[in-house]
Subunit: 148 residues, 2 copies
DNA sequence: TCGCTACTTAACGTAAACGTAAGGTAGCAG
DNA sequence: CTGCTACCTTACGTTTACGTTAAGTAGCGA
């Protein structure tokens, strides 16, 4: 059902193209701690990304674009998720049930917070939309009353 | 039904408080042509605003905050409305039916454009929300399957 | 192994959207 | 008429979120 994931390693340029941003933005986000600022990498070596990373970045960009979150706010939201991504590594290797539970118990409230933000914005937008609708109805009614 | 309008003259500080922004922002918007950059005013005199201005500014701020429109985009949207506000002056004084029709015919497509922007954003947000929902459902299902 | 291309770090530059400070004035209360 | 306060203009400063350039290197195909 979901789009096929390749599970290969991406280089920064590919990631940028996939997500629709520039490599500069990716490095900048890493600088801010938004994106695998931790991952060890021998000095000068190319950055490597998984498709989990790509999905994560895509989510961040959408939160930025759709909700207008600042990078500080994104960082706050993502800090917890960073731990989650770290934990996900272990998911593959040592999936003890106890470990899995801890991972899920950390992930769920995170997605819940994102969803809450989206829902809140949807409500304010709905309010604004209704105001515009009724304004439009008033204008149109006036216009009809002045039929040419 | 709508909140009572006072129909008095506001000074810039009052407007700022009402709308929840600073006076600097209002002057800056005027500088950009977003807000009565045209209205004549003897040099050094205080700016005067009507409650129509307040409503207009409030709408602009919401478009900025909810849709993340840049001030350039806001300007594009508002340019037409500027003419409208100018025309509205005449509405009070000389409301010939022909004039009214022209005003309405200019106003309606404007509000329609704003509404279209709001609706579009609502849709993308709804999509994002649903993705987050299904992600959340997957996580919760996993969690249940690992009942402690 | 050569060579090309996309990567690396470091540093300075920039556009948007205001903040802030200085020196002066309008306008209203008393 | 006197003050006081909120306004005025001008101008430089600041933050955010990257863009751009420079000088060098990693990694892969031929």
């Amino acid at each position: 059902m979901t789009t096929q994931l390749d599970d290969r390693a991406y280089r920064i340029g590919e990631v940028a193209d996939l997500v629709g941003i520039t490599t500069r933005t990716i490095r900048y986000y890493e600088e801010l701690g938004l994106l695998g600022a931790d991952r060890a990498r021998s000095k000068g070596a190319h950055r490597q990304y998984t498709d989990a990373d790509v999905g994560r970045l895509q989510e961040l960009i959408r939160l930025r674009d759709l909700l207008g979150l600042t990078l500080d706010e994104l960082t706050a939201l993502a800090e917890a998720e960073e731990a989650r991504a770290e934990l996900r590594q272990r998911w593959q290797s040592d999936p003890s049930d106890d470990e899995r539970r801890r991972i899920l118990d950390a992930s769920i409230p995170l997605v819940e917070r994102q969803l809450a933000l989206v829902r809140a914005r949807q409500r304010t937008l709905a309010d604004f939309g209704e105001e515009l609708e009724s304004k439009l109805r008033r204008l149109r009614r006036h216009r009809r009353e002045l039929a040419d």
